[in-house]
Amino acid sequence: MPHLDAAYNLARWLTRSPTDAEDIVQDAMLRAFRAFDGFRGGDAKPWLLAIVRNCWRNAGADAKRRAQTALPQDDDGGLVSTDPDPEAIAMDASQSRKLDEVIALLPNEFREVLVLREMEDMSYREIAEITGAPIGTVMSRLARARTMLRERWTARDLV
């Protein structure tokens, strides 16, 4: 099934929860299938991702509240403070986990543009279509998201 991985990846990053992501993707694929009349050609991937995002928005405050508490809750502080070897922290696995966590904690509007741009390779125009924001807003959010990510990521390196 085409773009299912992209749909799931976006849902995972938006909801920050595997269960919610599955529900949303299932909902989105059915809607995409039924709404096929509304598909006006072009690349199907941004079209499908827009539906995923809408399903996530429609899932409403309830799902979002659950997602907030479903943030990665591993004992980050403990792990870092008891790890005697700084190089071990810089290993790929923990690097990846840290970056994952920092991104997961970005506010929604910044997280989504970053994921769409850096992970799904969407153009500004496609991101604008998916998120329903003007291109100018997409650009400034992206710049802000990168700055925030950078600041928080390097701040964590220094812990």
Binding site: M1, P2, H3, L4, D5, A7, Y8, N9, R12, W13, A21, E22, V25, Q26, M29, L30, F33, R34, F36, D37, G41, G42, D43, A44, K45, D92, Q95, S96, L99, D100, I103, L114, R117, E118, M119, S123, Y124, R125, I135, G136, M139, S140, L142, A143, R146, L149, R150, W153
Partner: protein
């Protein structure tokens, strides 16, 4: 602190600019410390993300569940075949080129013009007006006539004053364009020289300061939410004198 060209720089790094727009951005990055640092940071971050971030893949169970659900869908016959066609999901449709082009144009238009573009643009507008003999659309030495004339023609209300006593009489005005924006042009005389004072809304563009293009000097400045450019073929000192008069009057 924050370079006004930062979004253009980012658009360049994200591969959103082509042709002249890309070259301009590249030139700017080479000369701007902030944008060069931003580029280095963005590249590092992008590499780190692409290398380290978890790219989630749909679990097989989800795949199976959705397939089963879709099989049960009572879809109108008309679109079942297309759903099964590979092209539907891979996006092999016409019109992609056109939309990519439109996207590039949108970004080019909505970014504030570069300093280089502005310098060229006011010089071109001034030259064209002189060559076509259409420097003045409303001729008057009274600001009571010239100022209201602009209302409804441009989105700015330019400061208009007569500096006849200082050697720069007001002679009229016209509407022109600066890098795509409608601008009010207040026209003055100084000896045999004509001075164009361009006034247009500030959209965050970085201004050139001073520039000289095909024999015309221009001085740029900002005041509030307006951009100003005084353009003339006379030497710098006289033009500065004029600019000081305008700035004293409108500040």
């Amino acid at each position: 602190m924050n370079c006004p060209e930062l979004l253009r720089t980012q658009a360049f790094l994200d591969g959103e600019l082509t042709g002249d727009a890309a070259r301009e951005a590249e030139l700017h990055i080479a000369t701007c410390d902030e944008c060069r640092a931003f580029s280095a940071r963005a590249a590092e971050l992008s590499d780190a993300m692409r290398a380290n971030i978890t790219q989630h893949r749909a679990p097989q169970a989800l795949h199976n569940r959705i397939s089963a659900l879709l099989d049960k869908e009572d879809a109108p016959v008309a679109f079942i075949p297309r759903w099964r066609q590979r092209e539907f999901w891979t996006g092999a449709f016409s019109g992609i080129g056109a939309s990519a082009l439109a996207a590039a144009l949108t970004i080019f238009v909505m970014l504030p013009p570069s300093a280089e573009t502005l310098a060229q643009s006011v010089a071109d507008a001034h030259t064209n007006a002189l060559m076509s003999g259409k420097v003045i659309q409303v001729a008057s030495s009274s600001h009571h006539t010239v100022k209201p004339w602009f209302a409804g023609k441009v989105e700015v209300s330019p400061p208009v004053a007569d500096f006849a006593q200082q050697g720069f009489p007001l002679i009229g005005g016209r509407v022109d364009k600066v890098a795509g924006s409608r601008a009010a042009v207040v026209v003055y005389n100084h000896g045999r020289h004509e001075i164009d004072l361009f006034v247009w809304p500030d959209k965050g563009a970085r201004l050139p300061g001073e520039s000289t293009r095909h024999g015309y000097h221009a001085i740029f400045w900002k005041n509030g939410d307006l951009n100003f450019a005084a353009v003339c073929d006379m030497e710098g000192a006289e033009l500065h004198k004029f600019v000081n008069l305008v700035r004293t009057e409108s500040d």
